[in-house]
């Protein structure tokens, strides 16, 4: 059966091919561009095209494939970089040069490995499992602020929204490097090409700190940069999550990172608007919330069909317009996610990274995960956590007082507390991604905070005995200078 193009608008084309199914894959035009059926009417089918429609002519042929958009699952995925339709980018570069031109023939996954065990799976269909489990094992990220204050659970989900320049990508890449999981699937969804180049460059030389193997061996990268076609951007997170599920089904712990979900939502909006659908909030289609809920539901700890236990954790960055968290994508995610790391612009301007706001963020996994860490790392993990949070909370109210009376007007004990919390912020919560400090194992994290709190207690005791704050701080500074702080320090 064959048909013709009868209309072209933005990323969609209208065709007159009968007998198509919803979400069926079709090839469009002389160059056989790939597309997917998104709307069916008698004599008029709308196809979203995974390539630029530029240069496409009316009357060009359209052919059905009888299949949905699928990914190939099998060996040879790890260590590779694909576009949103799972085309291997390195093979495309070798075959066609540095630029991606529409209609380039699909290169196959040829890397010399056995390809016998391949399976095709439709990307929009979640892969089956026996049952979902409700366990809360910690997922250690190596980021102190997350592991200590807002811990993640394997099989959970988290979002981190932040305005531009708040370090979303850097945080996401740090977690991709250091997280304690078997497989990482990283989706660069509508983001910068140069950042992907940087990431590949870094990953090529780094090691997985947990298994001491080259980092790329456990990583799959799916990338659709912002200038690549918009519909393929929409498909990219489904392509990625399907590959992630494939490894989950082998009983592995998988982490899916997407940067950024907002670009996916915008692609959805662009296609919706080309389909002339009735817009919901801010022009997003009204099904944004349900699509997101479906996507979040693919995370979880499962017992696989053959009785293994695997997990899929989802971590998504969000780029809210104007840094305003009341926008629809952030709000829709908040209803589905288990943890929320709010990236704060004023922290970022101060170069406090990761710029996770310690009052606004939350983790719904904290009780269960902290219980695990109490057992596994240190029995006082939970207690230290409570302590640190209380101090930070107290600092916040002292800050308000200081704004009225000045820092000179504060009591010595309060000034000591503010100094301690400053150290907690600078040396503990902040973490420089460009130095060795970029990764902190749970034991290190625990020791670091215990150390800071013990120093504080000792100083407080001496203050109570009548020593002056000045003397105490002079001793503390000398001790600090002798140590090896990760960041630029300053005398108080």
């Amino acid at each position: 059966m064959s048909g013709r193009i009868i209309g072209i608008s933005g990323p969609t084309v209208t065709v007159d091919l009968p007998g198509l199914q919803l979400y069926e894959r079709v090839t469009v035009g002389h160059a056989a561009l790939m597309g997917e059926v998104v709307r069916l009417e008698r004599g008029r089918v709308v196809v979203q095209l995974y390539e630029s429609t530029r240069g496409l002519g009316i009357g060009e042929p359209v052919a059905a494939t009888g299949r949905q958009l699928t990914v190939r699952l099998g060996p040879g995925l790890l260590g590779h970089m694909f576009d949103g339709l799972q085309r291997p980018l390195e093979a495309m570069r070798q075959k066609h040069g540095p630029f991606i031109r529409p209609g380039e023939t699909l290169a196959t996954l040829a890397d010399g490995q056995e390809q016998a065990a391949f399976e095709e799976w439709p990307v929009r269909l979640p892969r089956p499992y026996k049952r979902k489990l409700s366990t809360f094992e910690p997922l250690v990220t190596g980021q102190r602020c997350i592991d200590f204050l807002f811990p993640l659970a394997r099989g959970g989900s988290a979002i981190f929204p932040g305005g531009f320049g708040t370090g979303k990508t850097l945080l996401e890449q740090s977690i991709a490097k250091f997280a304690d999981v078997d497989i990482v699937v990283y989706v660069g969804c509508g983001e910068r090409g140069n950042e992907m180049a940087e990431m590949l460059d870094d990953f090529a030389v780094l090691e997985d700190p947990w298994r001491k193997r080259p980092l790329m061996e456990r990583t799959i990268v799916v990338v659709n940069t912002s200038n690549m076609p918009v519909a393929a951007r929409e498909a990219s997170i489904y392509t990625a999550v399907t590959m992630a599920e494939y490894y989950r089904d082998q009983g592995k712990h998988v982490l899916l990172l997407a940067d950024s979900l907002s670009r996916w939502a915008e692609a959805l909006r662009e296609i919706s608007s080309a389909l002339e659908e009735m817009p919901g909030e801010e022009g997003y289609p009204t099904y944004l919330g349900s699509r997101l809920a479906d996507f979040f539901a693919r995370a979880g700890v499962v017992e696989t069909l053959d009785g293994k236990v695997g997990s899929l954790t989802v971590l998504l960055s969000i780029s809210p317009p104007g840094g305003d968290f009341t926008e629809p994508v952030t709000q829709a995610c908040l209803r589905n996610t288990g943890a929320f790391f709010m990236l704060d612009t004023s922290l970022a301007h101060r170069r406090h990274f990761p710029a996770i706001h310690w009052f606004q963020s939350f983790s719904l996994y904290e009780t269960e995960v902290v219980a695990h860490l109490d057992q596994r790392v240190a029995p006082d993990w939970g207690a230290l956590r409570q302590r640190a949070r209380a101090l930070l909370q107290r600092e916040e109210s002292l800050r308000e007082v200081a704004e009225i009376v000045g820092t000179e007007g504060l009591q010595d004990a309060d000034r000591l507390l503010m100094r301690t919390t400053e150290l907690i912020r600078r040396r503990f919560l902040a973490q420089n991604a460009y130095t060795e400090d970029a990764f902190s194992a749970p034991q290190q994290t625990c020791d670091a905070i215990r150390n800071l709190l013990e120093t504080h207690d000792a100083a407080a005791a001496r203050l109570a005995k009548g020593e002056t704050l000045q003397d105490i701080l002079a001793v503390a500074d000398a001790a600090a200078a002798a140590g090896t702080p990760a960041h630029a320090t300053q005398p108080a």
Binding site: G57, L200, T225, R351
Partner: protein, 447 residues
């Protein structure tokens, strides 16, 4: 390929820059059409949408004088392409690539589609080679590297063009060793909706610089649709110079706000659903299709570096234009009205400014070993001083401790001595020496 030229006199409607043509047998998306006016005048147009045999065409240029009965539209069967040749160097063109300098059009060596093709992410070379701009606030704290896109966020009335001109004049692609002996970049200058006065200023700068340049000029009086085309011509030429002739190309586009307004104008005429502030929902993708063309390619010597100027409407950094730009570009240089009022040039507010690609461009073997530590220390202490200014405004200087007072003084001195540099060009090494001296004067030692 069509064997004959298709010419239609079946215009159904004209709305501003948009035409609907009926009964078109064959057409393609993005196809270039020639519109023949009743008086014989010709203008170019582009196919925007096709629904069966009705085609929506956007006129590039002035649509005044068109009618429904005598005008004709000729379909050319090609998408918009740019003529390329080294003969374009040191020439000035209009927004449709027509020569503006009284010289004849050059003979193109080749043609390339203006929309370009996305660069395969695995083919990108990581940008990490310094471009020394001669400005301390950029070189020291927000270092620019080859292949980066770093916009200048300005406000109406701030000297963004003086800063842009200074960068054009002083930028050198290497010379990070402190000698300042690097090479000049080839400049591609794209003016979008500028007033004649602004254009004359840039004109003088380009002449003074005496390096190679290609200019595309769309002034405020010129057709709005050309504003959408001019940056694409500029970038196509830049890619040609960089990736086929190995040149380091610096693309200065000013002002992106005019570009986005032109896009909004056309989008509204197309009756598309407006997004935030009336800009189309695809503004992000559209801007990305320009900004993402900056970069470097593996095993290829040239580079395309982009410096777009964005004037923030109402000084608002959350306005969709600076907001979406910031999400795509690798950092931003933010100008401050307050610093400008205090006579500081360049009035760059370093706290919200950022260069994402700085880390690999600085340090040992690139600039100097202590660069990262110096920059971090400056940031940290300056941020602290700025915080204290707020406190000082409430409790007065007397309410602050001596250490706090020192940080306040440091912040002032930093603005006056490091950010402020007047007309002088500073090498990176001079910037670092100056910064170190300042830190030491305030007893702030590096680790």
């Amino acid at each position: 390929m069509r064997l004959s030229q298709h010419s239609y006199a079946t215009l159904r409607s004209v709305q501003g820059p948009l035409l609907f043509v009926d009964a078109v047998v064959e057409s393609r998306m993005g196809e270039v059409v020639t519109i023949v006016f009743p008086d014989g005048r010709e203008a170019e147009g582009e196919v925007l949408r096709i629904e069966r045999d009705t085609v929506l065409v956007q006129v590039i240029g002035d649509s005044r004088g068109l009618d429904l009965d005598h005008s004709r539209v000729v379909f050319t069967d090609v998408v918009k392409r740019a003529p390329l040749s080294l003969a374009a160097l040191n020439r000035t063109f209009g927004g449709s690539f027509q020569p503006l300098d009284d010289l004849p059009m050059f003979l193109p060596e080749k043609w390339a589609p203006v929309a370009g093709f996305p660069l395969n992410p695995v083919a990108r070379e990581r940008p990490q080679e310094l471009i020394e701009t001669g400005l301390s606030c950029i070189d020291g704290l927000n270092t620019l590297v080859k292949g980066q896109k770093l916009p200048i966020f300005s406000c109406a009335g701030l000297p963004s063009r003086e800063i842009a001109a200074r960068i054009l004049e002083h930028a050198r692609t290497s010379g990070g060793d402190g000698t300042g002996a690097g090479a000049r970049s080839t400049v591609v200058f794209v003016a979008l909706g500028l007033t004649y006065h602004e254009y004359a200023f840039y004109r003088r700068t380009l002449e003074q610089v005496r390096g190679d340049y290609v200019a595309f000029i769309n002034l405020a009086k010129d057709p709005v649709v050309e504003r959408l085309l001019a940056p694409r011509f500029g970038l196509t030429v830049a890619e040609y110079l960089a990736f086929e002739h190995g040149r380091d190309v610096l693309v200065l586009v000013t002002d992106m706000t005019n570009y986005c307004d032109a896009l909004r104008e056309v989008s509204t005429a197309r009756e598309e659903l407006p997004g935030r502030r009336g800009y189309p929902g695809y503004l992000y993708s559209d801007l990305a299709s320009l900004y993402e063309r900056a970069g470097r390619i593996k095993d290829c010597p040239g580079s395309v570096t982009m410096l777009p100027v964005v004037t923030m409407p109402e000084d608002d950094i959350t306005h969709p234009i600076p907001d979406l730009t910031g999400y795509i570009t690798e950092g931003q240089i933010v100008l401050s009205r307050e610093l400008h009022q205090r006579g500081i040039f360049p009035p760059v507010d370093v706290l919200p400014s950022l260069s994402r690609l700085m880390q690999r461009g600085i340090g040992k073997g690139r600039t100097r070993e202590d660069h990262r530590d110096v920059a971090n220390a400056l940031y940290m202490h300056y941020a602290e001083g700025r915080d204290l200014r707020r406190l000082e405004a409430i409790v007065g200087r007397e309410g602050l401790s001596d250490a706090d007072k020192r940080m306040l003084d440091f912040a002032d001195a930093f603005e006056r001595e490091v950010v402020n540099q007047g007309p002088a060009r500073r090498t990176v090494v001079e910037t670092l020496d100056l910064s170190r001296a300042l830190l030491e004067r305030f007893g702030l030692h590096l680790p």
